[in-house]
Amino acid sequence: MDSNRAALRAARPLGLALLPLAAVALFIAAPLWALLTEGLQPASWDTLVAGSTWRVMGYTTAQALVSTALSIGLALPVAFALYRLSIPGRRIWLALITIPFVLPTVVVGLAFRELLPFAGTTWAIIVAHVFFNVGLAVRVIGAVWGQLDGRLGEVAASLGASAFARFRLITWPLLRPAITAASVLVFMFTFTSFGVVLVVGDPALPTIEVEIYQRAIQRLDLDAAAALAILQLVVVVFTLGLASRLQQRLSVVGVVADVSRRERPRGTGDYLAVSIAVFVAVAVILPIAQLVATSLQVGDSWGLTWYAEAFAPSDNTTRATPVAEALWISSRYAVVATMIALVLGMLAAISVTHLKRGQATLDTIVTLPLGISAVSIGLGLLLLSIGGPLDLRDWWLLVPLGQALVAMPIVVRVVLPVLRSIDPRLRDVAASLGARPIRVWLTVDGPLALRAAAVAGALSAAVSLGEFGATAFLARADTPTVPVQIVRLLSRPGEANLGQAAVLSVILVIVTATVVGVAERARPSKSTGW
């Protein structure tokens, strides 16, 4: 047995683990490198110190902070209701509030543009951001809250603490790490938010992402765009660093209940929390209903006119192919992007689990693109494509490459916990029975990895289909993806363009929801990842 184990260790050649990691690292580093070389030039200094840059940064930070505060504030009572109280239909409410997170950004933008009377203002951005992130915050906070032993509160009550004192002195400090984690996530998402801001925000008040896009694509000032992207990256890295310091300081060994018992609601506070949870869950449906309504509303009546027009071969004026051609284009891109993300993400995850040391570091590197905004990834790839000896600007593979970079961290996050949950002794047993390393992997890890890969693949496909930030930089004018087509339609006046944008949105929501729904069903129940 011992000699077999030694043989197994020796048979895991270092190169086998390092090669895919090197490929993944290159894949992530190349666009970053392009950004850095382009953005760190003497001329960039003028961009960085310009007053307009700091106004944009200030505005971006302010809207992100308000969005984060409101998302967390709303998430707390909802998490309490769904994770501490026993209420009918709990799973349904929980599923409902998670929906927005997987919806494509431009689709949500369009929905809120039509739904909100104050669309085109900062408040519209904030409402859309809260809609997007409240479910995420509920999940992150609820996961911890649901496991706190309720008897801690009972002990505190017996010592004389009122409900408010119990929350302030017991629940809040114990939840603080989770609240911090959720806040950082929501801040990052709202700080780097692009599609929503572009569609629903005030055109005169760009956030940093919109500013990068406008400089690069509309003013063709790539140097300044790259400089701004670096600035944005610095903020993100700083936030993440601060967060990890905070996490270490705050982390306490919480008392985890053996059986998490959810109490029946009693008292005004409980019923208020339940009402807020139900309100949030129902409010999730509103924007989707709005999309369907907009797609069906033709003048003062209802009909399928926009559906017919979207699929009509040509309207002889502005375009030669039907609007719905984008569905076909998006699907092809999504398939390629998913394959790239899956192959690289799986290789990275497998390599990480087989490394003896430095697992945590590599884990961080592989998930790094989550922190880089999609817009920066798009810009980096764009710079890379025109910076080399060949002009690859029009290379079709750019779009799937960008989408794969956005999706790959999700693949790693889904697959890695599954692979880690495998008892290493199983591998040793297989090896001791004489199986060669490859055989060991195929028998022990293979079946579980395959299932995780299916889930990860579905999620990647959903991400690729809805991806807008990177794609906006990379898609050619004659091959728009669905989100690009939606934004393009929205930039044109008229009911017909709006109607068709809504049609594409509805179809995209249905496809995304189906894909994610299938993935959730196939997901191994033990998995602790995303």
């Binding site: 032993d149 002990v155 010592l159 004389g160 603490a161 009122s162 004192a165 009693r266």
Partner: protein
């Protein structure tokens, strides 16, 4: 455990006319099932009553109702003749100790013990002194700055006891307080707790499934059988 110098016995035990705790016609249902009915329970001042019964018999539920973290399905609870059935837990002044110590994980030993002192109306300046006395009382002098995750099971349970006694509870409710400890430790702690409660004059209800433990700790043992509390013997 050493004798405290400054801790005064619970005052209500001295008052004439004090009757302590009384549960009348108590009934408890759990998920639609009737667990206990026609419960009549008296805990006179300074008295320790054990509730003995198998798991699932409803003894813990009864204790939870008395502390006020769970409502009685019907019946009433009174203290010294005043009805407290609808009074919130934090206004009842009944201490609570569970099987697992359930110390607040983000606070150290001293802060855990001092927790209840925040809400008492008395002098708040000598909190540290009071914590020191309580630690002495439970035999853990010098533990005040320790993190709660560094304590052994027995030490944690002693801190939990000190925390419950700190605000001077009118009644102490012990829910299988020694269940998680090994035999030697348990016997020593049972003995110490008995001594301590007698010394302070604090009445207590002790929920357990161990008849020996009940005999050792309590002045009176009441057994739960078939959904009702045996009449007093």
């Amino acid at each position: 455990m050493t004798t405290p110098k400054d801790l005064t016995p619970a005052p209500q035990s001295e008052q004439p006319g004090a009757t302590g705790l009384r549960v009348l016609d108590g009934a408890i249902t759990y998920e639609g099932r009737l667990l206990l009915h026609e419960v009549r329970l008296d805990v006179p001042p300074g008295h320790i009553v054990a509730l003995l019964g198998p798991s699932g018999s409803g003894k813990s539920s009864l204790l939870r109702c008395i502390v006020g973290v769970q409502p009685l399905t019907s019946g009433s609870i009174s203290w010294d003749g005043h009805d407290i059935t609808g009074v919130a837990t934090h206004r009842r002044g009944f201490g609570l100790v569970f099987q697992d110590a359930l110390l607040f994980p983000h606070l150290n030993v001293a802060a855990n013990i001092a927790f209840g002192l925040r809400f008492t109306s008395g002098d708040k300046t000598n909190t540290r002194q009071r914590v020191g006395e309580l630690l002495e009382l439970v035999g853990l002098e010098g533990f005040s700055r320790r993190g709660v995750d560094t304590l052994s099971g027995g030490e944690a349970q002693r801190v939990a006891l000190a925390r419950a006694l700190a605000p001077g509870p009118r009644l102490l409710c012990l829910d299988e307080p020694f269940g998680a400890l090994d035999r030697d430790l348990r016997e020593r702690l049972v003995h110490d707790v008995r001594e301590l409660l007698t010394l302070l004059g604090t009445p207590a209800i002790h929920v357990t499934h161990d008849p020996d433990e009940a005999e050792q700790l309590a002045d009176e043992v009441r057994t739960i059988r078939d959904g009702s509390l045996d009449p007093r013997c």
